[in-house]
């Protein structure tokens, strides 16, 4: 009797897991075929000398990669861009969210305005960026009006500023929505208690709101960081295949070795970047786990 019941139980469970697998199959098979399996081939390519011989050389490709000047330049540019743009993207979007939270007039219209760049294709507005930051463009003319001398924006060390502005324009709205959602989840009673106890707005921000915002803050940071790696798109649309030195990003490096069909270097670069990304994402998970619990209690 007991055995029969157990068998039935087991049967039900296998049936359920088979059923579950069926629902998942179309997606999982596609992901396996287009992402996961080829990724292991990439790892294999990164470890051999060339696909014809197939001799394992282990870390030679990686050593070669790290000695490559173009890779070093691309990695340091990508990193430098992230260091500048990510904190700005987080702080500015938090400020905008706090501003809209303060019940100013036309709040919902403002939200629409700030969100609109998300929907405007970057390809459509790069022309305006080119007009604004041309050596004889509008920004330089405005600067000369105030007595500064103009700058050749795109062909100097300042070209990252131009791209940072485009990046912020594009991404602040998304971050702002995340912060606004998180702000509206803060229990009103706590803020009211703080009010009656005479806490000022600054104090409320740092002692109460920030505690509740910390998981979102972390998520927005990681998300902006990942988006900053994708800034190639903006740069490509602004400058085409051959950007000026300060804007040569990892994606440019990848595209160039794609064209040279240097599979070993390509694979090694992809593996290095995967490892970097997994470390970043793991940090996100661990940190969210820790901070998230802190607030939920």
């Amino acid at each position: 009797m007991k055995l029969k019941q157990r068998m039935e139980n087991l049967n039900r469970r296998t049936r359920e897991s088979i059923h579950g697998a069926m629902w998942l199959a179309p997606s999982l098979l596609g992901v396996a075929a287009f992402y996961i399996v080829p990724f292991f081939i990439v790892v294999y390519y990164a470890l051999i000398d060339n696909p014809l011989m197939g001799n394992f050389v282990f870390f030679d490709n990686f050593v070669r990669l790290f000695q490559n000047q173009a890779f070093k330049l691309a990695a340091s540019n990508t990193w430098r861009f992230a260091i500048v743009s990510v904190p700005l993207a987080v702080v500015l979007s938090l400020m905008i969210a706090l501003m809209l939270e303060a019940r100013i007039p036309l709040k919902s219209q403002f939200r629409t305005f700030f969100l609109s760049p998300l929907m405007v294709p970057v390809a459509s507005v790069v022309l305006i960026w080119q007009v604004l930051f041309h050596p004889n463009g509008a920004v330089n003319e405005a600067m000369q009006l105030f007595g500064f001398s103009g700058i050749d924006w795109m062909q100097s060390a300042h070209n990252q500023i131009v791209v940072v502005l485009l990046f912020l324009w594009k991404n602040l709205g998304f971050n702002m929505i995340l912060f606004m959602a998180s702000l509206s989840n803060i229990p009103k009673e706590i803020l009211e208690t703080a009010d009656t106890e005479g806490a000022g707005p600054i104090r409320k921000l740092f002692y109460i709101k920030m505690r509740y915002l910390s998981p979102t803050l972390l998520f927005v940071t990681i998300f902006s960081l990942i988006n900053s790696f994708k800034v190639f798109r903006e740069i490509y649309l602004l400058t085409g295949d051959y950007p000026y030195e300060g804007l040569y990003m990892l994606q440019h490096f990848m595209n160039n070795i794609f064209r040279a069909l240097d599979y070993q270097r390509l694979a090694a670069a992809a593996v290095v970047m995967t490892i970097a990304m997994v470390i970043i994402i793991a940090t996100l998970f661990i940190a969210e786990d820790r901070f998230g619990k802190d607030v939920e209690e």
Binding site: V42, L118, P121, P215, A269
Partner: protein
């Protein structure tokens, strides 16, 4: 106290207004400049495009003037884009036939997968879901190489299927839709079970109707992401004839600077219409993406 609050709020309002103007400026300028005539664009912006078009017989201004309002409003550029030179519409059509299948199939396949993640839980499922999240967060630099290898094995390089397939199986929709589905009250599903519904009926009669706004918001997010795509097409679609307008826009210069603004505007019409129609759904979608956990 009241007075102080009033000034505080007005001050914030003005700061917000300044930011709003800066945010809207590029879009508004692109739209307003698209109504200029060719000669006006040459006069104002000729220098920018000059380096790639030496010795054109028109007057080219010696500085770049940013103009908000054209001297003479004309629809010349639009008639050129829409009727006279078919190449732009062709590229626009390329974008459409790349993006529409990706949106439909990515969201459709994601619906089944999300149902599986929601209804049939197991340890293995959690691990798989974690893999999906990691994959979702990977930048193109990483996923591009595997995508390229598969396209090569299947002999798809240069064909639009090379771009469509990876897009269809991108895990973003699965992740977001699963988060929406997990919020469906389980009593609804239990009730359907008691009424004798089978799994497919629960899926199609309970889950999908409950997720209607979620499906819409995910479709919008996927659409804008792929409408903007640059990275995969320039690697996989070397032939300029099959590239989407997003890539082609960046190569516009010699002799066609005039229409560039009009093309840019035509290109932003579909996402802007979607935005105006579905802003609430979009905001909801972003809100739910705000945490990597369920």
């Amino acid at each position: 106290m009241k007075v102080k609050l009033f000034f505080g709020r007005t001050g914030l309002f003005f700061i917000a207004a300044v930011f709003a103007v800066l945010f809207l400026l590029p879009t508004v300028l692109t739209i307003s400049n698209s109504f200029m005539t060719q000669s006006e664009i040459d006069a104002n912006y000729g220098m920018i495009f000059e380096s790639t078009r030496p010795g054109v017989g028109t007057y080219v201004g010696d500085s770049v003037n940013l103009k908000f309002i054209p001297d003479k409003v004309s629809f010349d550029q639009y008639t050129t884009v829409l009727f006279r030179s078919p190449e732009y519409l062709l590229k626009f059509w390329n974008s459409v036939i790349l993006v529409i299948p990706i949106v439909i199939f990515q969201v459709g396949i994601a619906a089944f997968a999300a149902y599986s993640f929601t209804r049939f839980k197991s340890k293995l499922k959690n691990v798989i879901f974690f893999f999906y999240i990691v994959l979702m967060l990977m930048p193109y630099q990483v996923t591009m190489v595997p995508n390229f290898l598969v396209a090569e094995w299947l002999g798809l390089i240069g064909s639009r299927w090379a771009v469509i397939f990876p897009g269809v199986f991108a895990p973003f929709s699965v992740f977001l839709l699963t988060k929406f589905m997990r919020r469906i009250p389980s009593v609804l599903i239990e009730a359907a079970k008691l009424d004798g519904a089978n799994e497919f009926q629960i899926f199609s009669k309970v889950c999908i109707p409950q997720c209607r706004s979620a499906l819409y918001s995910i479709a919008i997010l996927v659409f804008i992401d792929y409408w903007n795509m640059v990275e995969l097409p320039i690697i996989l679609l070397a032939n300029a004839d099959s590239q989407p307008l997003s890539v082609y826009l960046s190569t516009i210069n010699a002799g066609e600077a005039g229409v560039a603004f009009a093309v840019a505007v035509v290109y932003m019409v579909p996402p802007l219409l979607l935005f105006l129609h579905g802003e609430e759904a979009l905001v909801e979608g972003i809100t739910h993406s705000g945490s990597v956990k369920g």
